[in-house]
């Protein structure tokens, strides 16, 4: 159960093309990440909605292949 950093970035970019993504592999195990994602699509949305958009981009991998992704979403 792991997901490469580049794969995560790719999936997010695919569904949120304007996303500015900074990801850190927290434990060096391809399984615990922290990401800051900035995009225009977050504007006017609640934090829950913003995070759901990111989870949706990850196509069900969150909580499965990917154990931990701390999220910080921001509108630009």
């Amino acid at each position: 159960m792991s997901l490469k950093l580049e794969e995560i970035k790719g999936l997010i970019k695919e569904s949120i093309p304007d996303a500015q993504i900074t990801i850190q592999d927290l434990a060096g195990d391809d399984n615990h990440y922290s990401a800051t994602i900035k995009s225009k699509i977050f504007s006017g949305k609640s934090k829950i909605e913003q995070h759901k958009l990111v989870y949706k981009a990850l196509k069900g991998k969150m909580g499965n292949e990917l154990h931990a992704l701390a999220l910080n979403t921001m509108e630009i």
Partner: protein, 111 residues
């Protein structure tokens, strides 16, 4: 999700004003994120029920479907889904969690 699981989640949310679906228990959390949310609630001296999803695979999956949220922990206040660890932490730091508790008339320790 089967009806039993759905009913169980609804009942827990009805019976407990502040509900935390978590891995492990408030006394012995089994995951750092569950620990973090549990500690914030303890810090605020909020009375809450911690529900260990590791004891029940159907519940673990069910609560994710219930909220359309893929991860645990999940915090609910008066049946409203508040968020997972990142959101609750951010709200806590900004004082928004405290404001939410106040709005929902849940007693907590301020200051």
């Amino acid at each position: 999700m089967d009806k039993n699981t759905n009913d169980k989640i609804k009942n827990e949310l009805k019976q407990n004003e502040v509900c935390l679906f978590m891995k492990g228990t408030p006394a012995v959390p089994q995951c750092g994120f569950s620990l973090a949310v549990s500690n914030m609630l303890k810090h605020l001296e909020v009375k809450f029920k911690g529900i260990d999803v590791l004891e029940n695979a159907e519940l673990r999956q069910g609560v994710k479907e219930y909220s359309d949220w893929p991860t645990i922990p999940q915090l609910y206040i008066k049946e409203e889904f508040i968020g997972g660890c990142d959101i609750v932490k951010e709200m806590f730091e900004k004082g928004e969690l405290q404001a939410k508790l106040k709005e929902k008339k849940i007693s907590y320790k301020s200051g």
